[in-house]
């Protein structure tokens, strides 16, 4: 590969514009109809999950929810481009991608509900626990891929992070390790313009985040993050390259966080409503709907079926989260190490005594 080929384009790759019209591209082909139909269903379901979770926060059933409203195209594409044996390394904002991989919505919300730190077995759907400490998961993804390569498996790993996270040292170390060890990792940055309140201009002075790739000797590419077709094409190519021994690459998606960082945030303090409105025009769902309708790939019945499916998911999520959690305080001591040390056992016995006494007196208070 020539050095120049490692640089991204000056403008992000786009295949379907904001009005649903196709954009022709020399390098990237439009995915096939069935793929786009599946993607659209994923978008609708993803949006529904985001909105349902948001509502559950308001109802006090979730402690917190970092929504990917507006970023569903990235979420769905990240999941769809991976094969069954590939692995996803998501962040706290990537619940929709996690669910798209097959994790039960209620399991994906265990962390955000406050029951435990993670709610699914990573091996079951090949999804690492959602990572909170920023950029740390990128290194896990690289190590995971190193192990796969070591054993001669052709697993591809896709690791997610946000624009803000590219400033962390771990971002740098992860891309560098991946390139030096030439492992099959796709680094996928969802540049949604903000890290909580901090705009992209405070994160980087680079022409684009994808311009960082050449500094590691890997290709970088930019893509319209609200265009699921372009995302599928660009990420798909990156996954194929990784699988065929072409090494890691960096993909930057240009998208926007439509809601506040989480419910605890107040985004009126740091951004204009006009900016948010302008991005509403570039919504990833509506452009696909227009496109599919125009292509005859979506009719009212199909639309309704998809909406119903999404509603079913939302209802299940509601039900699961409305049920009270049945938690066992002994869990605090169960998983710290494989075998419980006498030191921890002693502490558990202390707590057990307290719990027993509490149940003897009243429910809740100890004394």
């Amino acid at each position: 590969m020539q050095h120049e080929d490692l640089l991204p384009r000056d403008t992000p790759v786009a295949l379907i514009d904001k009005d649903g019209a196709t954009v022709s591209d020399e390098q990237y082909a439009l995915p096939d109809a069935e793929t786009l139909q599946r993607a659209y269903r994923g978008l609708v379901e993803g949006r529904r999950i985001n909105d349902q979770a948001y509502a559950l926060v308001r109802q006090g059933r979730l402690a917190v929810y970092p929504s990917s409203h507006g970023q569903e195209a990235c979420q769905v594409a990240a999941s769809m481009v991976l094969g069954d044996h590939d692995w996803l390394f998501p962040t706290y904002r990537d619940s929709v991608a996690v669910i798209s991989r097959g994790v039960r919505p209620a399991d994906a919300m265990v962390l955000l509900k406050g029951d435990w730190h993670s709610g699914y077995d990573p091996a079951e759907h090949r999804v690492a626990p959602q990572s909170t400490p920023l950029a740390t998961q990128l290194l896990h993804a690289v190590g995971f891929a190193q192990a796969a390569k070591h054993r001669g498996e052709d697993t591809v790993v896709l690791a997610l992070c946000g624009d803000g996270s590219t400033s962390e040292g771990d971002f740098h170390e992860a891309l560098n390790f991946a390139a030096v060890f030439h492992v099959p990792v796709v680094f996928f940055v969802q540049n949604n313009e903000f890290a909580i309140s901090v705009p992209l201009s405070r994160q980087t002075a680079a022409p684009s985040l994808a311009h960082k790739a050449i500094g590691y000797g890997m290709p970088g590419q930019r893509v319209d993050g609200n265009d699921v077709a372009a995302l599928l094409a660009v990420l798909g190519e990156a996954v194929d390259r990784a699988r065929s021994g072409g090494g890691p690459s960096l993909v930057e998606a240009h998208t926007y966080r439509m809601q506040a960082h989480t419910n605890a945030d107040d985004d009126t303090r740091y951004r204009d409503r006009d900016e948010v409105k302008a991005w509403a025009d570039r919504d990833p769902l509506s452009r696909m709907q227009v496109f599919l309708r125009a292509q005859g790939l979506l009719d009212d019945i199909a639309q309704q079926t998809i909406a119903d499916g999404a509603e079913t998911i939302a209802a299940a999520l509601r039900d699961a989260l409305n049920a009270d959690s049945d938690l066992d305080p002994e869990d605090l001591f169960r998983f710290v190490t494989a075998e419980r040390s006498p030191q921890l056992e002693e502490q558990w016995q202390l707590l057990r005594g307290e719990i027993e006494r509490a149940s003897l007196t009243d429910a809740g208070g100890h004394r």
Partner: protein, 345 residues
Amino acid sequence: MTMANDIEIETPHVVGTMTMAAAINRALADAIAEDPDVVVFGEDVGALGGVFRITDGLAERFGEDRCFDTPLAESGIMGTAVGMAMNGMRPVVEMQFDAFALPAFEQVVSHVAKMGNRTRGAVRMPIVIRIPFGGGIGGVEHHCDSSEAYYAHTPGLTVVSPSTPQDAYSLLRAAIASPDPVVFLEPKKLYWSKGEVDTSVTADLGTARIAREGTDVTVLAYSAMVPVALEAAEIAASEGRSVQVIDVRSLSPFDDATVTAAVRSTGRAVVVAEAPGYVSVASEIQARVFERCFEYLEAPVRRVTGFDTPFAPPKLEHWYLPDADRVLDAIDSLHWDDDAEGAAR
């Protein structure tokens, strides 16, 4: 230890009731107003005013060059603070949550804590590292840790944590005025607790504070555990036991003079801290008190701490956090006269 708080307070003094959050905000504002070398920076401290709104209004009032957002990189924040301090500034940095200060750990331990010593005092590090810490707010994993042990163990760092709005104000002013690096641990759980603040009141780093007088037993606590200790003392009083509560407040260096005198006077002590107890500030206090008060003790010093497990998820944290009952249980175990084991001694 007395460290002279030699700030000349130029802004009019304020006396009033405010939250700890407001007291910290006020301390930052007063420090910025009075000393042109003070700068406040970190993640989201500018337009947003911090995720806890502690820096609310500072950027607007004092301008972007006195309070500003950085790129998202904690080692970067700490490392540039070192450079600024080398060049005459007094950086006050915010780490967004306790666990997110960890990427900066090398800069803290290898440079912030050691630069003054390395240069034989030629280059001091007047840096304040503000860290919201501890649980009790229903935060998810990585948002509720108590990592004071890491800092308190590190030679060269002064570590303090307030339990009242007054101390939050006064200790933060003293921290910013200090020629040396201070880790300032802010109990998230107490951010919205209220109290009287007089901005003319000063506090010396390195000193403990007697939070409640008492004669039967001394409870040593700090930060969010001080209200817990006071609650336990209140209940104990109703049961006829007089509990002295000391707010340790300076986790390093330690105020042996105050603490030793107190425990010698009561002959019994319980140490309370929220962090996992193993190799902790609580173990240090327990060990020191034991060693220095051995001849005066009627019973072993006990500690009440968090478990040696990762911090609990929100729905289980009430089982994790030490509460007044746990403190009272520990007090009850201290070989009282009506206690067979104690009497046998």
